[in-house]
């Protein structure tokens, strides 16, 4: 388990200040912590969230964070591949993905199907990612973020149900 603050502090250290996404139950703690933030836009679909992030990067030169549930990752593929990809406009992005149906966790049928191919989708896209389960995974994720900023590429993390500590 990790505290959401640990993740947000890591992003902040990387000058990542802007968030856009589609809310997800796995990432509820993230949503709560973003609630009163001005630099945060809830989008109507995951592709729009990615695109709002792309626009934000074009004006600020800072890497944005895009959050979503893995079931909506496919909605984001079009702008990820055909705009943000290294071989197209090369736009750096951090994806925070709630991972329903991860092979480690029993879930509903529709989530199990998508959960099993989520890592494969990221691999096909050439997106480096970290599965965040404990605080030490943040060290690897931090390195990947630094690389993504330098290389102007996309980086992701996968977060399973129960990883983000609930606030008391």
């Amino acid at each position: 388990m990790i505290k959401i603050k640990n993740l947000i502090d890591l992003l902040k250290k990387n000058k990542c200040e802007f968030f856009s996404g589609v809310p997800d139950s796995v990432l509820q703690e993230l949503s709560s912590s973003l609630q009163n933030r001005t630099k945060h836009i809830i989008a109507t679909n995951e592709g729009a969230a990615v695109s709002i992030g792309i626009g934000n990067y074009l004006s600020t030169k800072k890497i944005p964070a895009i959050y979503m549930q893995n079931s909506g990752l496919s909605n984001a593929l079009n702008p990820l591949i055909s705009i943000a990809h290294k071989k197209v406009y090369s736009i750096p992005l951090i994806l925070i993905i709630g991972w329903r149906g991860s092979p480690k966790i029993k879930d509903e049928p529709q989530h199990e199907v998508k959960g099993q191919i989520t890592e494969k989708i990221l691999k096909i896209l050439g997106i480096k990612y970290t599965i965040i389960r404990s605080k030490k995974d943040l060290i690897k994720f931090n390195k990947q973020i630094k690389f993504a900023k330098k290389n102007k590429s996309i980086v992701a993390c996968l977060i399973e149900q129960g990883t983000l500590e609930k606030k008391q």
Partner: protein, 200 residues
């Protein structure tokens, strides 16, 4: 409705797109940024800039990510006062209609939305988008736009464009354009250079 002389496709509207885009670019304040939708809109913009030497403003061409033009433009316009024009098409708007609600909710007056409506998927053969019976005035107002402007012919074109551009509120402009084709349109290729120029 009349048939377009260049093809068998139907022209729903008749304003010449080249004339509109040329007049728009001519009247943009210096350093304005433009985000334009996938296909002909971006390619025509690129062509017209070159043809008339209009280099006061910079473009970001949505070579992919169909339907996400307004989202990229919104992301650019937030938390600063830089002027940005979103040049969208009716097919693109309808593809992700939800996004224009996000624009209506969060965009400020530095964001200007231009809908080039030809009621067709012009870049891929002119198939119908069924956009012709949408009341964009009512739609845009209920989505959060404060002002709605409409252009359907070249009468007072410059004046109407200027009115829209100088509006002090979040504004939506619907331009009813024809489907006249420009031959040998260029394609955006050196994308990294386009991006770097846009970000300057």
């Amino acid at each position: 409705m009349k048939k377009n002389s260049n093809s068998n496709k139907i022209n729903y509207y008749h304003l010449d797109k080249e004339l509109f885009l040329k007049t728009l670019l001519n009247n943009l304040p210096k350093n304005t940024k433009v985000v334009s939708s996938t296909g002909y809109n971006s390619r025509e913009l690129m062509y017209i800039r070159k043809k008339y030497g209009l280099n006061n403003s910079k473009d970001f061409y949505m070579v992919g990510g169909m339907g996400h033009t307004s989202s990229v433009a919104l992301g650019y316009s937030l938390f600063n006062n830089k002027k940005i024009i979103c040049i969208d098409g009716d097919g693109s708007l309808l593809m992700h209609l939800g996004s224009i609600k996000t624009v209506g909710t969060f965009a400020k007056k530095n964001f200007k939305y231009v809908l080039l409506n030809n009621n067709s998927h012009d870049s891929v053969g002119g198939q119908n988008t069924y956009a012709n019976n949408i009341d964009f005035k009512k739609l845009s107002k209920s989505l959060g736009f404060r002002k709605f402007y409409s252009i359907k012919d070249d009468k007072g074109l410059k004046k109407n464009i200027k009115k829209f551009l100088s509006s002090n509120f979040l504004s939506f402009l619907e331009v009813k354009v024809g489907n006249n084709k420009i031959k040998n349109l260029p394609r955006p290729k050196d994308l990294i250079a386009i991006k770097d120029k846009f970000m300057k």
